[in-house]
Point group: C2
Chain length 354, copies 2
DNA sequence: CTGAAAGCGCTTACAG
DNA sequence: CTGAAAGCGCTTACAG
């Protein structure tokens, strides 16, 4: 490394000199802090824009002895699916990076099978008076109500993983579910002949009218609706998530229907379907969701053909960064930040970044 | 935002107090600067490790009035392919971000069709005595020789886009070409029946023994070598890149060979093949490389089925960040950083991040 | 409404 | 070999 003078960038000192005021006044003018005469402020801002002054972010954060506190609320990882480890990893990554910058992140978790736990945690978070909140919502009604409260209390919040109806969050960083279903159908279209059948499988304890899974199904069906020729599409909703129930439902379907060539599972539970197909030695192609250990095992074996993945680690990481940038520097993020729709196979999973 | 005291992190002041020395001495000890008694140094470092002291990076860079200068050398974008705009974009992104941190980035370009231009630019770069270099190599021999010079002059350098044989760079951030060919074959395997044929197309002015394209071809073939049944694989090398030459070669091949179901083009020139197939109304599936405007046009139309992409923007961005971290903080990056192998289709290109 | 001064956590001449 | 002090570019009480 050679020593070299940093080229002379304008700082608040230079602005103060030109405006014939003190640096304190410049600071107040720039940040719209109270106690500056209108005329002075305008004069200073004039010079600021003339010189295209860019504040030194490092010095700014160094001088601001303020801790920003961000609360995160996501489902707790369960034995049934390790999916929620990924967002947590993204949170931890952001935490590590931002701890340098005087940001404290407090992670909270709720049980996806318990509305009560969700409501309880939102209460605790509100009491802690955080500067910002990151939320991965599950229970729509309660989440909407929570977001309204945040709005009222003037606490900015961002969403990840799935969006909320009429969402007014600072930002949503996550998948467009319809599009991912649409892409899955496009992939499936390469795998079938006109006479083949496709089976859509939804596995979830609650599959109501708004459910995420239905948006994916909708995208999937829409793709084929647009084609001149399309394979027959069957679908089953499995409302219990234990192995036995899933096996039973699938057995029934495969007994009644012949010619199923492709199975599309609308969430990360695709591994349970793969298990069934392996056990019963069915030769069908399988498309599902999410880069989690359970699924990767079957992907490697060739029992799962395609996994659609949407970078849950990065979703959480980006969500927090968006919040941080807003809180620290007032940078307003775009309202929607849709994640790429990644196709993971047994030949590229080894370099995938979740 | 609420005001809140930042929790008391240990700084060099606290260490100085405990060690009964001045903060200057602490600084010297921590950074192995000369002029500290061995005993003093050890004592200080002892306390440093006891307290698990983490330096404040912001303060560090603020106090270091040093400009780090990074030179980048990549091919210039040509009329024939817009590919090199992407790495340039990554460089610009890094430049914008790092300008805050006292880093200056000087981009240089060479003509991919002119060894002379490459050699000339490396000379200019060396004369400018940069603190670090990022290189996207094309001419293997000259690049190796340049990298040796950097080594000798003690200028750290990183590579992107393609690796060099026996590479001793600080870091390589880019694709594993073999793997991307392997993945392409895996995709192709879903698209063919045993009786179908696959055509590999290499288009490049120079296809010598080490060429990148051959590594992809190798990966592609290796996939099918491992299968029990495999389609027949044909291949053509097109050594001229004008439209007419390409059309002629393809015409010849399609005249002589029937039953070609899938065409695999080993680089970004896949759009020229798509053009030909469209014009001659051939109904084959097409796999190629790179997220560039020319290709996207055919992807949208359905003339290209899959584009393999490896985030060239991010490659350049990450390469520079790796260099920066090394120069500024002595963080040694992993020697190889392989990019994900992304599959882009007409149903997910709209959310792809290059 | 404004300025002078202290301080954020470091680095770096300078003096001894 | 070591310490005291100035300074990086900001923010923020404090005083007037």
């Amino acid at each position: 490394m050679r020593n070299k003078e940093r080229e002379e960038l304008v700082g608040i000192k230079e602005i103060a000199r030109r405006a014939n005021v003190s640096i304190g006044t410049v600071d107040r003018a720039i940040h719209n802090r109270p106690g500056v005469a209108k005329k002075t402020r305008e004069h200073v801002l004039q010079i600021v824009s003339e010189l295209d002054y860019q504040p030194n972010l490092l010095a700014q954060r160094l001088a601001t002895r303020k801790t920003l506190r961000i609360a995160t609320l996501i489902p707790i990882g369960s034995a049934e699916t390790s999916f929620w480890q990924a967002p947590l990893q993204g949170i931890e990554q952001a935490r590590t990076e931002l701890s340098q910058h005087g940001i404290v992140i407090d992670p909270y978790f709720y049980d996806q099978d318990s509305i009560g736990s969700f409501v309880e945690k939102t209460g605790i978070i509100l009491q802690s008076e955080p500067d910002g909140i990151l939320l991965a919502p599950s229970f729509i009604e309660e989440s909407v109500s929570f977001s309204r409260t945040c709005k009222r209390l003037n606490i900015p919040y961002v969403l990840i993983d799935s969006d909320l109806p009429n969402n007014e969050s600072l930002n949503y960083t996550g998948p467009d579910l319809f599009d991912s279903g649409y892409l899955s159908a496009h992939l499936a279209s390469y795998l079938v002949q006109p006479e083949d059948k496709i089976l859509i499988v939804n596995i979830s304890r609650e599959i109501d009218g708004h459910h995420h899974l239905l948006k994916k199904e909708d995208g999937f069906r829409t793709y084929f609706d647009k084609q001149q020729t399309a394979p027959a599409i069957r679908k089953i909703d499995i409302r219990k998530t234990d192995v036995e129930s899933i096996d039973n439902c699938l057995s029934e379907e495969f007994r009644d229907t012949t010619g199923i060539k492709v199975v599309f599972v609308t969430n990360s539970r695709v591994s349970t379907v793969a298990r069934y197909l392996e056990k019963t030695e069915k030769k069908v192609l399988l498309i599902g969701y999410d880069y989690i250990a359970e699924n990767l095992a079957y992907l490697k074996k060739g029992m799962i053909d395609f996994l659609i993945c949407q970078k849950p680690v990065e979703q959480a990481y980006r969500g927090i960064i968006a919040l941080y940038q807003y809180l620290a520097y007032g940078i307003v993020p775009p309202p929607k930040e849709f994640m790429p729709i990644d196709i993971v196979t047994r030949t590229n999973f080894h370099v995938y970044r979740n």
